[in-house]
């Protein structure tokens, strides 16, 4: 009983945060970032249904997102022409249904095997559809894409969705609904068997389930939600192009889900939020942000195989035991030099890449030609690196200390 109340309040909190965000950040830019996040969250969660829950590594998930989006835009055009008549709040559903149909068709032959074979089929289909989208211009609109106006449908309680803020509230509702349903899916027999098939498809067959059928169901569900995300994209930007179904978009959703943490339901949400923020904020400050993103991604794969969510969940034991506080100081001792090291490294990278002779960084002007400047930041970087390395041991000890039960020290 307590558990379910806790769970319900968690969901209520989620909804509240979603709806309250624009109260605190109300610029057009932040609304635009929130809309982006909303789309990314649904998309990344749907990707996690495939990879995290079902063990299917896809390099072509954007296909369902994009196809859903294209159908959604074409529906907007139909509404504008007066061919169909319904409120645009249902547009994401249109995208979802088309994503589902596409997934049913492609899943019918691609889900026979998981692993490398599935990954390669997904790659092939992704490339095929992305390339075809540039050839079949009448539907995909070539590289300029297709565009539709969202304000022509019947008013929804007097709202015509001309402003991004209105779309945000609609998106927030859709994100909430989609998140709830995707979470509930994990609690159903089909969702549980997806985990079982991921872990051991052979064994799953001997408890009565066709691994292929189980994968197929996850695949379709994932296509449905990817399509919903695509429909939401169409509503938000009122256009869609082939770049929304190509390999780069597929790669980005993989990045999101992976950095966030595949094993956890909340992981992709974290990933979507972090990457969206990086994309929209970091790219303003540095042309090299993709380089930093690549480094971040590789470091995550290497050192945090369970992503950011995994990093957070690692602290569960210490949290439950009430020893989390003991970690604060050690984290600070390692964190400060590590942070300085990162800042100094970035300074060196940016300085070597700057166009002018002078580079302004954190209130300091660095000169590109000055070897003193170079030696100074280089020295700071090396010192900070050594300090970080040296402090790692105390962090490890503190970690052991916080995570070991008093009884099993000697075991």
């Amino acid at each position: 009983m307590m558990a379910s109340i806790a769970k319900l309040s968690l969901w209520a909190g989620y909804l509240l945060v979603l709806l309250a965000l624009p109260q605190f950040f109300d610029s057009i830019l932040s609304i635009s970032i929130f809309n982006q996040m909303a789309i990314a969250i649904i998309f990344a969660l749907s990707y996690n249904m495939l990879l995290g829950q079902g063990g299917m590594l896809s390099f072509g998930h954007a296909v369902y997102f994009g196809l859903g989006g294209f159908l959604a835009v074409h529906t907007l055009i139909l509404i504008e022409n007066g061919s169909v008549y319904f409120s645009i709040i249902f547009i994401p559903l249109v995208g979802g249904i088309f994503g589902l149909l596409a997934a049913i068709f492609i899943g019918s032959f691609s889900t026979r095997k998981a692993g490398t074979v599935f990954a390669m089929i997904s790659l092939g289909i992704g490339e095929l559809i992305a390339a075809s989208s540039l050839i079949f211009v009448s539907f995909f609109g070539g590289e300029a894409g297709v565009s539709g106006d969202r304000t022509f449908g019947p008013l929804f309680f007097g709202v015509d969705f001309a402003q991004d803020l209105e779309i945000y509230y609609l998106a927030a509702i859709w994100v909430f609904i989609a998140t709830v349903f995707m979470y509930l899916f994990t609690q159903t027999p089909a969702g549980r068997m997806a985990n079982a098939v991921r872990d051991n498809p052979e064994r799953a067959e001997f408890i009565g389930y066709s691994a292929r059928r189980v994968r197929f169901i996850s695949f379709c569900a994932s296509g449905l939600f990817a399509g919903i995300a695509g429909g939401l994209f169409a509503l938000n930007y009122e256009f869609i192009t082939e770049e929304n179904l190509n390999a780069a978009t597929s790669g980005r959703v993989l990045l999101m889900a992976y950095i966030g943490g595949l094993g956890y339901f909340i992981g992709p949400i974290i990933g979507a939020v972090v990457l969206t923020l990086m994309n929209s904020l970091l790219s303003n400050y540095s042309e090299l942000w993709l380089l930093y993103l690549g480094v971040l991604f590789l470091l995550t794969v290497m050192f945090l195989p369970r992503g950011f969510a995994g990093l957070i969940m690692m602290h569960q034991v210490a949290w439950l035991r009430g020893t989390l506080r003991r970690l604060a100081l050690p984290y600070l001792i390692t964190g400060i030099p590590a942070f300085i090291f990162i800042l100094a490294s970035i300074a060196m990278i940016e300085l070597s890449h700057t166009d002018g002779e002078v580079f302004h960084y954190l209130g300091v002007s660095l000169e590109r030609g000055s070897s003193i400047d170079w030696m100074l930041i280089g020295g700071i970087a090396i010192a900070a690196f050594l300090a970080t390395r040296k402090s790692l041991q105390q962090l490890k000890d503190a970690w052991e200390d916080a995570n070991t039960l008093p009884g099993d020290e000697d075991s």
Partner: protein, 250 residues
């Protein structure tokens, strides 16, 4: 006619014939052991019965259904379950989920995505019962992959029996266990298969003679004898082909 009948089953892998005309009839409720030297084809026979491999020729009948062309999941749905030589569980799920998944099909949930398992009291209770039976109740929320070896084997047995199958096939259920673990496992097997039909492959002759009602000896893809334990022990062909060598080091 018994619960499971094999008639002139052959299996070729390319040129080589692994199973060379096996016929076998297993009665309802029987505890049947298949023994034989390494490479005799015991595991292949298991794979054929459970649908993992297709037979080359011959028929396999389970409860009046011909199953030689059926897939593992179709066979499994008819009430035939098996374990594996190498531990085969759902490693990243917890122990409780492992057992509950095994219960799903027989409880009629099929591929449902409209039932929420958390609110299905009956299946959760039954999963706990099974956990109780196999002695893993206190490990219910443990990730299965982190259990000790013997516990993983017990869990595998739990998965195998959870679906309420009538015929249970165990492939070397105590391999790799210590003496005490093995005897615990035998007790467990006896308990959970009470009233059901059991077919097992096992190398440990003490356990075979302890558990089985009837023993078939498989040598080079053929059954050279199928009889009560005491008769098998006395059979000269079996001794010559197999028991002699194994018996000495068993």
């Amino acid at each position: 006619m018994g619960i499971l009948t094999l008639t002139a089953v052959h299996k070729n892998f390319g040129e080589t014939e692994i199973i060379r005309g096996v016929s076998l009839d297993i009665e309802q409720g029987e505890k049947h052991a298949i023994i034989g030297p390494n490479g005799a084809g015991k595991s292949t026979l298991f794979h054929l019965i459970s649908g993992l491999h297709r037979v080359t020729t011959g028929t396999i009948t389970f409860k009046q259904n011909e199953i030689q062309n059926k897939t593992p999941y179709e066979v499994s749905r008819l009430g035939l379950t098996r374990s594996f030589q190498v531990t085969n569980i759902f490693a990243r799920m917890n122990v409780f989920e492992n057992v509950r998944c095994a219960l799903l099909w027989s409880s009629g949930y099929r591929y449902s995505f409209w039932h929420l398992l958390g609110s299905q009291g009956e299946i959760n209770d039954r999963a706990m019962e099974v956990l109780d039976q196999i002695g893993l109740k206190n490990k219910a929320l443990f990730p299965a992959g982190e259990l000790a070896y013997a516990q993983q084997r017990a869990l595998e047995l739990g998965i195998a029996i959870a679906g309420g199958a009538e015929l249970i096939m165990l492939d070397e259920p105590v391999a790799g266990m210590s003496h005490s673990e093995a005897s615990n496992a035998v007790d467990l097997i006896r308990r959970v298969t009470a009233g059901k039909t059991l077919i097992m492959v096992e190398h440990d002759m003490n356990i075979v003679f302890d558990l089985a009602d009837r023993i078939s000896v498989l040598v080079y893809g053929e059954i050279i004898a199928s009889d009560k334990p005491e008769n098998i022990r006395a059979n000269s062909r079996v001794q010559e082909a197999y028991l002699g060598e194994v018996g000495s080091n068993a």
